[in-house]
């Protein structure tokens, strides 16, 4: 670990929207507000109209239970909601129904942990608690917040379920925070409570301090990707101040993702008194052991366990398994693929993994896409690997198929269309080899002193044929011919 960060302490509060719920936390309005006409998914409850009362969405409680189980938290036997009072234009009631673990209140669940691996060292990061709360409405500005002449309020988001995951201050670097979020995202995906790839589905507040100094809270980091960047910036800011002999103050700062800096808020904002007190419109909710057992039964295999199983079932390395299981869709894809082909053994398992983690993942990254949004099927990748192993196409050629495969085109069709089946015919290869040798006397000469020139000549052959020549045969034939030529040349000398 970089020693540059050893005195840094980071704690994260992650707010995740339970996007997979059908309805909001306290009413039966449609939860899916994205792309919908503003203020169409509303009712007296999520608008906070006078006289309306909240009713807890039982499925939200089940989702919270799933996450708590997956994170290994202690679920409280009963919990109740609190009101967090503050005036803000995005708040329908000017209080938020949330949970509180002080003043007689309890979180939904306490403790839990997330294991990360950084520079091949494992570290367990302790969680403090998780709790449920409602999302405020969405404020829409004209242009930037600073210059917008007005703000519009869209209550479609008002009352959507958020789950807050609070870590202890146990992370010592922005990289650890990044790995923590990566694991959390994976667990959330496995529990099927939320799609964190949706815009605005997660928000992070970070507490950052340098050992022995006052901490700052950076709010409003609106995506996991931004967190590492914001943390790095804030740590640098704190260190610079200390270097100049200034003392740090406890404060709330705001992450400006356009300018990529943290901005201090007026201290007045920090001293907000939320006047938490119990929400009397709701009664305490009991979480019985029976209920927990039922949820547990339905819970899918979690990434850690799955990685262990992958090592056993598919003889993958620990490293490969852990990366492969991170994205549930990828891991499902993998299992669907390798299990569908009886002839596959450890070599093919590894090959399949390499393809998924290599070229396929790269393509998804470059195209900002996820596997379930593409038309690629597990079967296509099976066919591809079989063609390579049967020698019908070369690995090099196969790589050029990725783009077409993602559109769902069957492998054989791609091969046919491209005319890029492998050339294994000796005569055909010899013809190419001879051409190359004739065209490149300089390299041939060079071969005398530098045997590596062979590779360059093979490369020329491949280039001539779009990489279709069988690499093994080509190498053998090239070697044979160049040796003959060399012998001839030296005898002529």
């Amino acid at each position: 670990m970089s020693s540059k960060y050893e005195d840094v302490i980071i704690g994260l509060e992650v707010h995740i929207q339970l996007t997979n719920l059908k309805t909001k936390l306290f009413c039966s309005c449609n939860n899916d507000y994205r792309g919908k006409e503003p203020n169409t998914h509303v009712c007296p409850i999520c608008l906070g109209l006078p006289g309306s009362l909240p009713v807890v969405n039982k499925n939200a409680v089940e989702f919270a239970t799933r996450l708590a189980l997956a994170l290994g938290c202690d679920i409280n036997k009963s919990f109740w909601f609190f009101r967090k009072n503050y005036f803000y234009p995005d708040m329908a009631k000017n209080f938020q129904i949330s949970q509180y673990n002080k003043a007689g209140g309890r979180a939904f669940a306490d403790g839990g942990k997330i294991t990360i691996k950084l520079n091949s060292k494992k570290k367990e990061l302790q969680l403090n608690r998780i709790h449920l709360e409602e999302d405020p409405a969405r404020l829409v500005h004209k242009g930037s917040i600073a210059t917008s002449p007005y703000a519009l309020v869209d209550y479609n988001r008002s009352g959507v379920t958020l789950i807050e995951i609070v870590s202890d201050p146990v992370m010592n670097s922005p990289e650890e925070a990044r790995e923590y979020l990566k694991q959390l995202k994976s667990i959330v995906q496995y529990t099927e409570i939320s799609d964190l790839d949706l815009d605005g589905s997660c928000r992070v507040d970070a507490n950052i301090s340098i050992k022995g100094h006052a901490r700052s809270e950076v709010k409003n980091i609106n995506s996991f990707k931004e967190v590492e960047r914001a943390l790095k910036w804030e740590i640098q800011r704190q260190k610079n101040l200390l270097k100049r002999g200034k003392e740090l103050i406890q404060e709330t700062r705001h992450w400006d993702d356009k300018r990529r800096v943290t901005i201090g808020l007026r201290t007045k904002e920090f001293e907000k008194d939320y006047r938490y007190f119990p929400e009397q419109d709701l009664v305490p909710i009991e979480i019985t052991k029976d209920f927990i057992d039922q949820v547990k039964k339905k819970l899918p295999e979690m990434p850690n366990a799955r990685a262990k199983r992958f090592q056993k079932d598919y003889q993958l390395s620990e490293f490969d398994s852990e990366i492969l299981v991170l994205d549930k869709d990828i891991a499902d894809f993998y299992e669907n693929g390798v299990k569908s082909e009886k002839s596959f053994g450890p070599d093919e398992y590894k090959q399949y993994c390499n393809w998924l983690m290599g070229d396929i993942s790269r393509w998804l990254n470059d195209n900002n896409n996820v596997i379930k949004e593409t038309k690629l099927t597990p079967k296509q990748l099976v066919d591809l690997i079989k063609l390579i192993n049967e020698g019908k196409i070369t690995g090099k050629i196969a790589k050029t198929f990725v783009n077409e495969m993602m559109k769902g085109t069957p492998i054989l069709e791609i091969v046919k269309k491209s005319g890029k089946s492998r050339i294994a015919d000796k005569d055909k290869i010899i013809k190419v080899v001879k051409e190359v040798l004739e065209e490149n006397p300089d390299i041939v000469n060079d071969y005398q002193k530098n045997p590596k020139a062979l590779e360059a000549l093979i490369g020329k052959c491949m280039k001539k044929t779009d990489g279709r020549l069988d690499p093994e045969i080509t190498k053998r034939l090239m070697q044979k011919h160049i040796t003959e030529i060399s012998a001839k040349n030296s005898s002529e000398d």
Binding site: G48, P50, L53, N85, F87, P89, F95, F277
Partner: protein, 492 residues
Amino acid sequence: MNIHEYMAFELIQKIKNKELQIQEIVQFYLERIKKTDNLIHSFVHISEEKALSEAKQKDNDLKNGKSIGKLYGLPIAVKDLICIKNSPTTCCSKILEGYYPPYNATVIERLIEKEGAICIGRTNMDEFAMGSSTENSCYGPTYNPWNLEYVPGGSSGGSGSSVASGQVIFSLGSDTGGSIRCPASYCGVVGLKPTYGRVSRYGLVSYANSLDQIGPLSRCVRDCALLLEIMAGFDPLDSTTVNVEVDNYTNELDKSIEGKTLGIPKEFFSEGLETDVKNKVYEGIKKLERLGVRTVEVSFPYLEYTIPTYYLIAMSEASSNLERYDGLRYGKMSDNLEGSVFDVFSRTRGEKFGPEVRRRIILGTYALSAGYYDMFYIKALKVRSLIKNDFQNAFKQCDVIVSPTMPTTAFKIGDLVDDPLQMYLMDVLTCPVNLAGLPALSIPCGFDSKNLPIGFQIIGNYFEEKLILNIGHLLEKELNIYRKLAPVNRGK
């Protein structure tokens, strides 16, 4: 006999027998409101046209053999803080001026949409139900129909005065610390505060949501029981309603109460009680003894902490419940929009809330603030549970507890306006019931020397509405003053 001299259950019989048409009844009451309300000011909104057209429709339906519900189109008055779809609901506050809810409260669904009552108008009240006199209304005070110089009680003052003066057959109120029973007592009508969780609060604009309950006001216990039977019961829209079966309250009103035990809490009869009030309540108890009940003295050691406990909890909850009124989504915003959105919020709330509401919001905000929360709110919750214990101990010895509803009869308009603390003390016999979440009935039991009505309170254990209605009904029969209507005059 005139229409307004009948009880609801009698009018229903007449409609069934085709002696009266619903239109005649509704028309009659509308006329009577027109004649008397310039003196009493029970109503802040009258739905004349709508009421008449509904009455006509119901007469037609009835003629065509269609069912029109158990309430047969009888006119009902609804306190101005129970939401009725597309009907002004302002809580008698300027901040809700022009607010028309887009939905019905559950009680409205049950009484009006399902069982066919007709809402004739919205009754005056203390702004957001904060008060015991109906003087804190943005529309001006309501006058007690027994003597127009006196308050009708509050906060459901208009609901009490309208029934007492025969402007309507029955009404709905809400009771947070006595807001149904106080006007019932001061106006000489029957008022019931049900067990917390017996009647849905969905659509009742919250004042103090752990204490609020909707309840009926009527001229006799039978009518009260009839309304409760319809209103009560579990509501999936209100998580605090309890899934306990609703009794058939009207069926057992005449059941013998022989052998029942009345608890008489000595602390409820202590200093501050007017002599006339004390005497009339004791007369009532004697009458019940003649019906075969026994009496036992019970004790409430924590009664003296009731008022501070009640007000701390009510104001704390109110400070949060009333945060939503900022003028942004409904109601009126300040005309002056200068400054930040927070400036406009503050200005709007400062301008549109009345002084009593502002006082309670400020006190409640203070009580919930960091550093004071444990000292005030948490402590109040602890005392609240001690008061609950007092009741549970008492109910080990008795079936119901009886007391005066109010320590005095109505006071003069303006007398306590500058003395909020004295006004708060008036709730001492009603608000312990709300703190404990119990049901309580107030029925008229006589008049004082000024000819102002006196209320007799019967407090039951949880979900014992049937028993307190039973006892109340038998006492009402014995006392036999329930047909008396308020004269709507300036007193003798």
